[in-house]
């Protein structure tokens, strides 16, 4: 029996690999398991290679897992294209289509001898029992149920529901294929059985991906306007909005380009509505000027950047965390705007609500820096109690203020009540040009300096926010990890490993990346002797950003590498260990630079 199972499957687009993964995921979720699924594709539009990785556990799942427990290859050409995304190890059970003609002892896996290998006539079984090769993904599900005990109840129930509209024949054909695969599994037992233990208790769970979670949160927060331009991997946010936003009296427009995509949202915000746009790196580059406009005009706006590999088109279907500098610095003039990063599907909800709140409260564009992995992976989440979440609306001028309205009145907080067209007495000129308190254009240097001060001062309370940082482990531990975005889930597992390994370690997960909350960071790093800032970018952008604002302890280094190469908990611990050894050498007077 095992408590955790990582299954990776690959085939050609059209093989139904991803829908098999989804069926397994919903089945496992309905059986009460914690589950996560990531998908990975080549960048072809149709066909090409496609894969998914499903992790099932009796404990909460923090990341997609490392080396596979089960590898399913419909053909080896496609499987091997995923390289490090679907690593096979000595403990892996390999199942593959016997038609591919590879002998079990001649697998094209270099330097690895898997635990067990099963060439299975997947196509033939599908054809014989369901009457069509298309059912080979159902055969796979039957094998997984038979060998690992996952989805034996849920898969058929899910299929029945999904195929209900297409008449009983199709479901019955799939049921026969599934049963045949179960029989096949029992006739060819695993040498070392490893069924997944039953889940501890059946909790009603949510199952969705980060993009849908983010969009649902926007609706919850009162978003009434969405405009954008399709771009992978953020498009599902617009697709969700296209289904839902109208129901709430809101509107959506798919724009002609990324600039119009943010422009229309800026207009809607000026008109007094909560507005959002979503994009990925290339779109962010195009939106930079409009973000500056929203900053100087002090208009609330939420901008989602679902990061993918860059620069330019880069790796459009793979995850990376290399847009932090862009989020912080892509502006001319002096600009600061809040940047928030979710770390999983579940926290995408609360953090998106937070983004709307910040935008409204401080009248500023706010960037949500998600990433491809979070946005497109599906995972089970515990129910979210929305009654604990605050929803903030922008401060509007009262009748007295409208008597002599100054849109950009200097106030103690830096926030001035904001009117909108339709409000009598609130008329003003919003502009990209510098303005005085009334909103009238000015080229006066003194006024410009004061307005810059106002725009920075109003964000100051953010620097004192402690609730947007989570520290795991003993807060006084001398060894530290820092990780943001999707890397945080791997780091949490690494922390548990390190602790089990006897290391006194802690982990900082920041949700607010900018403005840099100096107090939260300083207190975390106090007493830290050595540590790693783990992130998926070539430069280690958070590490460099933090060094702009604070002095990191000498032993804290960057552990960074380019996207599409997910970190594994074990290697993080190993790296931390090496760091400690270096530190010891350091004290002996022999510096080791990494």
């Amino acid at each position: 029996m095992t408590t955790d199972l990582v299954i990776g499957m690959a085939g050609s687009g059209g093989d139904g690999i991803v829908s098999a993964g989804e069926a397994l995921l919903s089945a496992a979720a309905s059986e009460g398991y914690h589950a996560m699924m990531t998908k990975s594709f080549g960048s072809q539009i149709r066909g090409g290679e496609s894969s998914c990785r499903v992790r099932l556990s009796t404990e909460p799942v923090l990341n997609p897992g490392g080396t596979l427990d089960v590898a399913v290859a419909l053909n080896w050409d496609d499987f091997l294209k995923f390289g490090g995304e679907l690593p096979v190890g000595g403990n892996t059970v390999v199942i593959y289509e016997s038609k591919t003609g590879v002998a079990p002892d001649k697998l094209p896996l270099t330097g690895v001898v898997p635990a067990e290998v099963f060439p299975v006539p997947l196509q033939d079984l599908a054809k014989e029992f369901a009457g069509t090769e298309k059912a080979k993904n159902t055969v796979i599900l039957g094998l997984l149920a038979g060998w690992f005990g996952v989805g034996s109840k849920g898969v058929l129930a899910g299929l029945k529901k999904r195929l209900a509209k297409k008449g009983p024949e199709l479901f019955e054909a799939n049921e026969r294929a599934f049963q045949a695969a179960l029989r096949y599994a029992s006739e060819h037992p695993l040498a070392r059985p490893r069924s997944l233990r039953a889940p501890p208790k059946l909790l009603p769970k949510l199952l969705t991906d980060g993009n849908d979670m983010c969009a649902a949160a926007a609706i919850f927060a009162g978003c009434q306007f969405f405009s954008g331009y399709p771009i992978t991997p953020s498009t599902e946010i617009m697709q969700f909005m296209s289904r839902e936003i109208w129901k709430y009296g809101g509107a959506l427009v798919q724009c002609e380009d990324e600039i119009a995509g943010i422009g229309a949202a800026v207009g809607a915000s000026f008109a007094g509505k909560k507005a959002m746009t979503a994009t990925s790196g290339p779109g962010m580059s195009l939106k930079a000027e409009m973000m500056g406009l929203a900053t100087i005009a002090e208009l609330p706006l939420v901008i989602v950047n679902v990061q993918r590999g860059g620069p330019s088109t880069g790796l459009p279907t793979k995850t990376e965390q290399a847009d932090l500098f862009q989020a912080v610095f892509s502006a001319h003039g002096d600009v600061a705007r809040p940047i928030l990063a979710p770390t999983c599907v579940a926290d995408s909800f609360g953090l998106t609500v937070e983004a709307f709140n910040m935008a409204e409260e401080y009248q500023t564009p706010v960037i949500i820096l998600s990433d491809q992995e979070i946005s497109q992976r599906k995972e089970t989440c515990d129910p979210i109690d929305t009654s604990t979440l605050r929803v903030i609306d922008r401060l509007v001028p009262g009748p007295a203020e409208l008597e002599d309205y100054k849109r950009y009145r200097f106030t103690e907080s830096g926030v001035s009540p904001i009117s909108h067209p339709g409000m009598r007495g609130g008329n003003y000129l919003a502009a990209g040009i510098e303005h005085n308190e009334h909103g009238d254009p000015t080229a006066n240097g003194v006024m410009h300096a004061r307005m810059n001060g106002k725009r920075f001062d109003k964000l100051r309370p953010l620097q004192a926010r402690k609730d947007l940082f989570k520290v795991y482990g003993d807060p006084d531990a001398p060894f530290a990890l820092v990780a943001w975005g999707s890397t945080a889930g791997v780091a949490r597992e690494a922390l548990a490993l390190a602790q089990a390994d006897g290391l006194k370690a802690k982990l900082m997960v920041p949700y607010l990346l900018f403005p840099v909350a100096i107090a939260a960071w300083t207190s975390f790093f106090a007493g830290v002797q050595a540590g790693l800032i783990v992130e998926q970018s070539h430069q280690g952008q958070l590490h460099k950003l933090l060094r702009m604002y604070l002095d990191l302890p000498r032993g804290v280094a960057s552990f960074a590498r380019s996207g599409a190469n997910p970190f594994q908990p074990k290697e993080i611990v190993a790296k931390l260990r090496r760091r400690l050894d270096n530190q010891r050498t350091d004290r002996d007077g022999q510096p080791h630079e990494e």
């Binding site: 949510l206 119009a260 339709g422 609130g426 254009p441």
Partner: protein, 287 residues
Amino acid sequence: MTLTAKDFKSDLKPIWCPGCGDFGVVQAMYRALAAIGRPPHEIAFVSGIGCSSRIPGYTTAYGFNSVHGRALPIAQGIKLARPQLLVLAAGGDGDGFSIGGGHVPHAIRRNMDITYVVMDNQIYGLTKGQLSPTSPRGLQTVTSVGGSLEQPINPLLYVLAYGAGFVAQGTPADMAGLTSIIEEAIRYPGFAFVNVQSPCVTYGREDQQIKAHREQMKTLVSLGHDATNMADALARAQHYGSELYTGVFYKNPEPPQTFEAQARERQTQLGPSARPRDRILDMFRQH
């Protein structure tokens, strides 16, 4: 309360050069808005960047002097978010047909009820006299030394070809005509385009100043033009650059439904199926 032109004039002093055609355009706007009768706070007036894009600040409406070339996306966001507003957009020929040219076709095909006024002077004035997208071939400017090598854009054909429901041209040389064109454009229930031949007194050609316009202009009405006939409109519009026709080139006699009206229908139709906002997550439940 009856509104007069003065109610729409703000206290800001225009930065325009004395003799600029844009003074006439803003005057015509004040008069047209007074005739329409909506109070200033129900009007949103959006522009991009350029001399003419300063115009919202010279009115008492809610103004938005945004970034170069982007008046139309912002105006559409405003209109869709709050359809009851009267939404105006304005700017120069460079703003509308060069840097912002990509937005024009899409504003037209979306057909929101927005009036877009372009002050066309065939030159970049704010940056002091460079080539514009409507500058005639051969024009000598500081960036086209030896003469422009490019064919100019014909704004009238451009918008007609994309299906604009209302297309007109005016000049401040005929204030009564310009005022009535702008008023008619605002009253048109859909996207309306007005090209104003608004001379640049500093960098413009001497033979294209207001005085010359008075002699050159021919009203379409006097020519017996039928503004409901697209083919006639296209034929007349081809003479942009050689003839100064003023008046309405085309006005769709059967205006199609606007984007915002369809949006409203969709909201009404789908509204009843909305989950309460705080129950939005129910759609992700597994049981």
